[in-house]
């Protein structure tokens, strides 16, 4: 018998959780209030971390990122630009941190090469001429929505049933108090969609708190906003990071024909009412201009924000925890639910794999994954789909509108094609 698993949230974590569960033979239904990319995962900075950013402060996250970035380059080469990354020292403090960085890159087995100031400027002519030294690492650029679409296509290929625009309304318990069914508001077609299930995985990102309440758990979260700003010109060939402990405003990512400057962190009470503060954008501009002065003259074309849930001290059981992500279950409430909080785009496959293992453990089954994982390249499918052809134009327009304000806004054709494809794959088109 195939156990039925409902995964709520089709961001990168929910997608990879669905893939890993489907590879283990479960019958998986994936629900999202929008589509992949309409939430946090569609609003990242585009950086595929090699782990160098965390090498000094969090070696577990660093080694996870190193392994996972290589894995993504291998399973989804069509989604990656192997640009390399450059950590640049602009002052004596940065250089002092560089010593610590080199030591910990060695400890984490992250390869690097050293450049002096003039070599760094030769490699990246738009760098601030005061650069003293640099360290080259294998950071890369991840094409966000293409990656998410590849993961969704792979879900479909593994037999995952995808349900976009489904807003969770309620959960239905059986006699033992476990969940046996879920009801969703169908935001496109109208009405209520009901699904029976043996197990629920809550991957709803910044909405994990609200979703957990509907599921009978209580995950206390604090939404943290990250603000990123876009320069309308590609100014570097590689990812540029400031050589210092991870802080706000210290990354520049060459993304398509643009440069994305990231990231500030701001706590917020309500993601829905969050507004980007001009002072925070000013901070980003200061920091970005210090690395590439031209940014100060060009300014930002636009800014966008994404939200991460910070989990407050748990009252439940933490099944798997790193500083990067947590898999939470609770003794009070249904036993057939886990909540997955945190994670990065770079480590989302790993989070999915570990979540699938936790689901197997909770159900008391042993199901190794089938075959080798490789993400499909959706480009051929995209080329065959004309926006709106044979589908619901209103729905597609709505998808496109909901995806505004993210990493890939400049690629308007792709967003439209993607929307059409999602409708086709979900059977809603």
């Amino acid at each position: 018998m195939e156990e039925k698993i409902a995964v709520i949230g089709a961001g990168s974590t929910g997608l990879f959780t669905s893939i890993e569960l489907a590879r283990r033979g479960f019958s998986v239904s994936l629900f999202d209030r929008g589509i992949p990319g309409s939430g946090t995962s569609g609003r990242f900075h585009g950086l595929l971390h090699c782990g160098a950013r965390y090498a000094v402060v969090d070696r577990t996250a660093a080694t996870d990122c190193r392994a996972e970035s290589e894995r993504i380059k291998s399973i989804a080469p069509h989604c990656v630009n192997s640009t390399g990354g450059l950590f640049v020292a602009l002052d004596r403090n940065d250089e002092e941190y560089g010593e610590e960085l080199r030591l910990n890159l060695n400890r984490c087995s992250i390869p690097y090469t050293e450049l002096n100031g003039s070599e760094a400027v030769r490699a990246e002519p738009n760098l601030n001429a005061v650069v003293r030294s640099a360290i080259r690492v294998p950071d890369a650029v991840l094409k966000g929505r293409r990656f998410l679409l590849s993961a969704l296509g792979t879900c479909i290929a593994y037999g995952v049933s995808f349900h976009p625009f489904m807003n969770l309304l309620s959960a239905h318990d059986d006699e033992s108090g476990d969940i046996e069914g879920l009801s969703f508001e169908n935001r496109i077609g109208g009405g209520v969609h009901r699904a029976s299930t043996d197990f629920v995985v809550n991957c709803s990102g910044p909405w994990i708190g609200q979703t957990s309440k509907l599921l009978g758990h209580r995950v206390e979260v604090l939404p943290a906003a990250g603000v990123m700003s876009v320069v309308g010109k590609r100014l570097t060939s590689s990812v540029v990071s400031r050589m210092r402990r991870p802080s706000d405003g210290d990354i520049l990512v060459p993304y398509g024909e643009t440069t994305i400057a990231g990231t500030t962190a701001a706590v917020t009470e309500d993601p829905a009412s969050f507004e980007i503060n001009e002072e925070d954008v000013g901070l980003l501009l200061d920091e970005a201009s210090a690395m590439v002065p031209q940014i100060g003259r060009l300014g930002f074309a636009r800014s966008y924000a994404s939200f991460r849930p910070l989990v407050k001290e748990e009252t439940g059981s933490v099944r798997e925890v790193t500083r990067d992500f947590r898999i939470l279950s609770y003794d009070a409430g249904p036993r057939n639910v886990v909540n997955v909080a945190g994670g990065k785009m770079t480590t989302s496959r790993l989070v999915g794999e570990r979540t699938a293992t936790e689901v197997c453990n909770a159900l008391g089954v042993r199901k190794p994954p089938a075959g080798e994982l490789r993400l499909i390249d959706p480009l051929d499918d995209i080329r065959t789909v004309e926006a709106g052809a044979g589908g619901d134009n209103t729905a597609i327009e709505r998808i496109v509108a909901e995806m505004r304000g993210g990493t890939d806004d400049e690629d308007t054709n792709f967003v439209r094609e993607l929307a059409a494809l999602v409708m086709k794959w979900s059977g809603a088109g």
Binding site: Y54, P246, A265, A266, N277, E279, D324, F325, G343
Partner: protein, 161 residues
């Protein structure tokens, strides 16, 4: 409540007048703030950009994505009394407004100069969201670094006890 109060007394080796001169100087006060990246005085207002160590509070806004955060504060110096000064600060960090009221008085005792200080800190939404324990840990860390820097600046030659 988003407001916390902190106070203490710091004994230093420098003489009364030198200490008074130090605490009334925006440049000197900026020099003892931790991790200062920029300081300038404009229209009588002291503007300081510095970094806050978040690891000290065990908090990682952004899920470990950042371990320090930039703070921008403007300090206005009140009318100096005979033996002290008041400083009003306002600014922003981690998307929250910050306010500071600082009273400093200088006195003498047993051959040393004593700096009595009292700070009222309003961390706004940070306190509400991160919780008082976390904010207290971060604030205490910053105050500890300031006091240590002040001790070094005003007790030259002495080592930490």
């Amino acid at each position: 409540m988003t407001v916390t109060e902190h106070s203490g007394v710091l004994a230093v080796a420098e003489g009364h007048d030198r200490v008074l001169e130090f605490i009334r100087s925006p440049e000197s006060v900026a020099s003892i703030l931790p991790h200062v990246e920029e300081h300038r005085i404009q229209d009588g207002v002291s503007m300081v950009k510095f970094r806050i160590d978040l690891e000290r509070g065990g908090v990682s806004p952004g899920g470990g994505y950042i371990s320090t955060a930039k703070a921008v504060m403007k300090f206005r110096y009140g009318a100096a009394s005979d033996n002290g000064v008041t400083i009003e600060g306002s600014g922003r960090a981690l998307g929250s407004s910050l306010k500071l009221s600082l009273e400093i008085a200088v006195g003498k005792s047993d051959g040393s100069t004593q700096i009595s200080w009292r700070a009222v800190v309003d961390t706004g939404v940070l306190m509400k969201l991160l919780g008082s324990e976390t904010v207290q840990a971060i604030t205490a860390g910053i105050i500890g670094e300031i006091l240590e820097n002040a001790r070094k600046a005003l007790s030259p030659g002495r080592t930490t006890e």
